[in-house]
């Protein structure tokens, strides 16, 4: 019983600290947004967003102090959405290739033929 009370008070005393961390990380996001270039900016922003999301889930939603079952339930969508994103990517890559092919085929015979460019057979 005493251990349960300690966990509970540890849980509650961390609330304000977590709020401060979240505010600081939001300020950091705005700084990254303003000053960092291109790909570096995107990488930092995604990392900061996941850090904030993890803090909310672990401390405000108490996942850190719960049975592991709940953490597994919470983690499954993260895994599935990551898979989903990669499942969408091959389709995306294929379409980008198709774009590149189409441009080449239109560009190559431009000097000789006046016929309108036709899309490549799919």
């Amino acid at each position: 019983m005493s251990s349960a009370t300690t966990i509970e008070s540890a849980e509650e005393s961390s609330y304000f600290a977590i709020f401060i961390y979240l505010s600081v990380l939001t300020a950091a996001e705005l700084a990254v947004y303003a000053w960092f270039p291109g790909v570096v900016k995107i990488a930092f922003l995604v990392a900061l967003a996941w850090a904030k999301a993890t803090l909310v889930a672990m401390y405000f939603m108490h996942l850190r102090f719960e049975r592991r079952t709940l953490a597994i339930i919470a983690f499954i969508p993260v895994v599935l959405v990551t898979f989903l994103t990669f499942m969408l990517l091959p389709d995306l890559t294929a379409r980008l290739w198709a774009h590149a092919d189409a441009h080449q085929q239109i560009a190559a015979p431009s000097g000789e033929s006046s016929a309108p460019a036709t899309p490549p057979p799919s």
Binding site: S3, A4, E8, E12, Y15, F16, F19, L22, S23, T26, E29, L30, Y33, K41, I42, L45, V46, L48, A49, K52, A53, V56, A57, F60, M61, H62, R67, T69, L70, I73, A74, I76, P77, V78, L80, V81, L84, T85, L88, L89, D91, L92, R95, L96
Partner: protein
């Protein structure tokens, strides 16, 4: 807590006349509620996740995607983000108050949480109004506007739901129907509210900042 639960399981195993699945027995009505909310949130997270993944695929495929800052006010939405984070803090403070039986503090913090949600919705309404009436965007204008309105609109519906959910307990508390024994209801409502905050953290990054 967990020690007591473990002891309980052992005692069920010892007395085989108790017809309870040992794996099931530690679940109290409160933990069933919490488990149910987590399963709902996992399903909801899949919906948001699918929408965000589709948005990412569309955006990466489209070289003419506009810079979000061309349409969206970053400072304005940073304030909205901060308001939601503050309302998450007031929500955990409300939970901590009801756990200690401090009901006036509970009413204060739950009320502040509801106000935070309403402030967020008001700011979002202002943002949408500006985009639709001043900048002429609609869901049909472009892929940018379509994904923007769907993602922020779906999230806005969740905030509306959370404001209603929390106000129900605020009004019940006003009627004197809330006490320490109802703390687990507030914990479950809090899970929903923090989830809405968590999703906004991701949307703010993926839709506004990147």
């Amino acid at each position: 807590m967990s020690q007591a639960a473990t002891l309980d399981t052992h005692s069920h195993e010892a007395h085989s006349d108790v017809h309870l699945d040992p794996a099931e027995s530690p679940l109290t009505p409160e933990s069933w509620g919490k488990l149910g909310m987590w399963i709902f949130l996992a399903a909801d997270a899949m919906t948001f996740g699918a929408a965000i993944a589709a948005y990412a695929a569309l955006r990466m495929d489209n070289v003419n995607w506009p810079d979000p800052a061309q349409f969206l006010g970053i400072t304005f939405t940073a304030i909205m983000t901060f308001i939601l984070i503050v309302s998450s803090l007031t929500m955990v403070e409300a939970l901590s108050s009801i756990k200690h039986g401090n009901m006036s503090r509970f009413q204060l913090f739950l009320g502040l949480t509801v106000l935070g949600g309403l402030a967020f919705l008001g700011m979002q309404a202002r943002e949408w109004h500006e985009l639709i009436w001043d900048k002429g965007l609609s869901i049909k204008t472009s892929l940018f506007s379509a994904t923007f309105f769907i993602l922020t609109g779906f999230h806005g519906c969740h905030v509306t739901g959370g404001v209603i959910y929390n106000s129900v307990y605020w009004f019940r508390g006003l009627a004197g129907k809330m006490d320490r024994s109802k703390a687990s209801l507030i914990e479950i409502a809090g899970l929903y509210w923090h989830f809405v905050d968590l999703v906004w953290i991701l949307i703010f990054t993926f839709v506004y900042l990147i």
